[in-house]
Symmetry: C2
Subunit: 509 residues, 2 copies
């Protein structure tokens, strides 16, 4: 274990790239040093496994796509109508084909991410149709908002991944929206990003654009796209998700198979029952991906919280969801697969105390339980309906803290500080010791946004809440933002592709 | 493990006591079912132990009280000037005398608390000279505030202990303040409480008042007082704390021995060095208590965060403090002693997002790491200078969640819900299944204060933040509050004792 701070652990100091743009400091994805917090015993994992095999064998999972049903049949699943049944042997055979970890490409190769093992990768919120900031309130998200969040994620040293549909750009028609989103990720960031999943053609466009950017051969070797395939729990994969999943698997691009579960509605109220269902559904999707193409990089996904049974509303940050995250991570581990879960989830409408309580309640178990890919690691508000600008930055402060936390405690001889312990007198202080001065910049994580001033200074500064401080910082970051260099030929090729596709799609209407 | 909710786990439903007062629902202290999250290996614990023995043998700890130095000498410690040195054998001999757990009495015996083992007891914030509420802002704390917080702690089902100096009643002279504080705990709550520590006489008054309430024999069998003895790190115990510690130990009342450490100032910046220092200091205090009286109930305490090295200000909620809490808990465990640490710490000035992030960042490791006695579990703001009314209630919502979290996941046959998993169709829902209906009230923890409504309802309700909701609830709770019954004879005896002591103290001035 090492006590170096995230700051020391950056790949490079602030410097300028070839075109004179100022490069930003970036922390590496977390390489966990802390032990995994495990709450289930081996026999409980076996029980979840066995009971989910019972579901897969006897009850089955629905696949609402003819092509998928054909593939399932060809590879040995029993299919009746739209329901597929999987024997334990079939599950085992195809799970064995899935890699235990893989690398996702970024257009800046220094920002490639390893998915799996002890690595933890943070990506922004995904999917909100609304945005919120303190000055303009809640409103429909636009492409400009989308690009703003790509920029903020690019600038944050603690976000490793540009994500996918950070917000829905509702000012762009749904059938061409994916093209603008993909281009924005490529143009305004150099971190890895996600593919579109709302239709077969969207997935195909994603693959074509990745080929333009990286080359066909490169993306067949290591995926350039990582896409979110949700299972419509209970027990069904819909046609759109199956189309996208099939396209990505055929092209060896990575997929996250995530049963989308609000316990009490889409699954039983009991966590054990929910874990069994989730596991059965995830295994069905994971095995299907391997049937499409052996070796497809896959992530075992969990998105699980509970509803408020009285109102039916989702409840984020609940103790039940924390237990589910920790237990689900162990299930993914059980199959030696990368795991996706967690995020800075909140039911709260604004970046207030409720939002923060809920977010850390979800996120800390995420980090302690070894989640490999954390979508929604920043910006989530209002059950995922809204992406918050201030919330995004506030969440990033915590992500920085997790970088430090995950390093654990250094026990090297030097860190024992015996000399200082002997030399500082009773009642004296360590502020000026050689031991302290040597570690001055790296010893402690320091949030840039949180307030540590005394009360008088704070009142003189306008008694600003954390949210108010964040508003100012968002503006400054977007003002100072400079796009990373993008090869002009590649850029033009992408623009041409998009223009052609928009014309094609327009003419089909 | 069991999935019963805290609500089911209460000792009794809402009912009236003999005098017609409405009794409040109370959750039991947490009996942990979750595994302890351990981050240190055995050899690292051994290393901390051995290096701290080096400090105790070769460097020593200062005791600024003649009586204490005499006791130390009599029991085999080497004393030079005001410094005491302890051999490994001496430490071992006296540590062996400390009980691994004990019961603290409450005047309502149903609220006695077990301190140690797998039990987790939550107590309110301790020590702030200021209070804050949203409508009146920050101001000097008064006895009325003190009593208000005692009432809120009494009313909260998730606070098990009435605490000690919840706030400093600055409108009462310091030399008699303890009498009013003790009486307020006794009068306005029936939960266990803490003794005064600011002078020998304060500790003696605490013992006398406990004797009036419980009887001398009873408190000699099980302690009625649990008192906070801070060590003025580095390496010294001051005269006031030693006086109080000595009085309590002689009277077999429980003490928490807590090195008070802001790493970087009172200890090295390295966590390993800080843990060594903390352990040496704690052992010195714990062993001293056993020298005063063998078998004195003691708690191994840790209050450790770091300073911001640039400004010298304390930083709460830091990743370093989380690691320290987890590691320190293992050290207490190593000696088979009850452990005190953690709390809803925040550097933030108001119950905003920063405060909540910081609080959960500290508190969740506290809960996962098995802290037995959690002081400051609700109400802490501004580095402990301020007790927040809204913050108190917001924190309590989280304490409720921890009651549920600590139960872990039920894997009984029935909880597997196989019948429901078979019967609910793909895309169907579980809201009305017999399995759900049977568990409707107990399945999920539900915060009473957090908002789960949809955005329109929320806006119609005035777009209230969590803090605003809490303001209203504080008022309602204090309005509805009814004191628990107190035997009139005992009450009079206490009042007489206080009147006599106030007269005595006044005449000495």
């Amino acid at each position: 274990m090492s006590m170096t701070s995230p700051r020391e652990n950056t790949r490079r100091k602030r410097r300028r790239d070839r075109s004179g743009r100022e490069e930003i400091q970036q922390a590496l994805p977390i390489d966990r040093q802390l032990p995994i917090y495990e709450i289930l015993k081996k026999e409980q994992l076996d029980l979840i496994h066995e009971k989910s095999l019972t579901i897969l064998t006897e009850v089955g999972i629905d696949f609402y796509l003819e092509e998928a049903l054909e593939i399932l049949k060809e590879h040995g699943a029993r299919v009746e109508g739209e329901t597929a049944y999987f024997s334990p042997q079939l599950i085992e055979k195809y799970l064995d084909l899935a890699p235990s970890q893989f690398t996702q490409l970024a257009r800046n190769p220094e920002r490639n991410v390893q998915i799996g093992g002890d690595q933890v990768v943070f990506a922004p919120v995904y999917g909100p149709p609304f945005v919120y900031d303190r000055e303009n309130g809640r409103r429909d998200a636009t492409l400009e908002d989308f690009q703003n969040f790509v920029k903020l994620a690019y600038l944050s040293p603690y976000i490793h991944h540009s994500g996918g549909t950070i917000v829905e750009p509702t000012d762009i028609p749904p059938d061409i929206r994916h093209l603008d989103m993909l281009y924005s990720h490529i143009k305004y960031s150099d971190k890895p990003f996600m593919g579109a999943v709302m239709a077969r053609e969207h997935a195909e466009d994603s693959v074509r654009m990745a080929e333009i950017l990286f080359g066909r051969e490169n993306i067949m070797e290591n995926p350039a796209l990582l896409s979110l395939i949700n299972i419509s729990s209970p027990r069904r994969l819909d046609d759109r998700m199956l189309e996208a999943l099939t396209v990505y698997a055929k092209n060896r691009q990575a997929v996250i198979i995530t049963p989308f579960i609000m316990a009490g509605a889409m699954s039983p109220v009991s966590l054990a029952g929910t874990l069994i269902q989730q596991n059965a559904e995830a295994l069905a999707g994971l095995v299907y991906a391997q049937m499409v193409k052996a070796g497809t990089p896959v992530i075992y996904g969990s998105f699980m919280t509970n509803v408020d049974l009285k109102s039916g509303a989702p409840v984020f940050g609940s103790p039940e969801s924390q237990l589910a995250t920790l237990a689900s991570s162990q299930m993914a581990h059980y199959y030696d697969l990368p795991f996706r879960s967690g995020g800075m989830f909140a039911s709260a409408k604004t970046a207030d105390a409720q939002a923060a309580y809920e977010s850390v309640m979800t996120m800390l178990p995420t980090v302690l339980g070894r989640v490999n890919f954390v979508l929604h690691a920043a910006g989530w508000l209002e059950n995922g309906l809204t992406a918050g600008y201030e919330k995004f930055l506030l969440d990033c402060e915590l992500l920085g803290a997790y970088h430090k936390l995950e390093k654990g405690i250094d026990f090297s001889e030097d860190s024992l500080a015996m000399e200082s312990l002997r030399n500082v007198e009773p009642g004296g202080h360590h502020l000026g010791t050689p031991h302290t001065l040597q570690r001055f910049d790296s010893a402690f994580y320091r949030s840039k946004l949180f307030d540590y001033t005394d009360i008088d200074t704070w009142v003189e500064g306008g008694s600003q809440t954390a949210e108010m401080q964040a508003t100012a910082q968002v503006k400054q970051m977007l003002k100072d933002y400079q796009a990373p260099e993008l090869d002009e030929k590649v850029n033009q090729e992408l623009l041409d592709y998009i223009a052609n596709r928009k014309a094609e799609i327009g003419s089909q209407q």
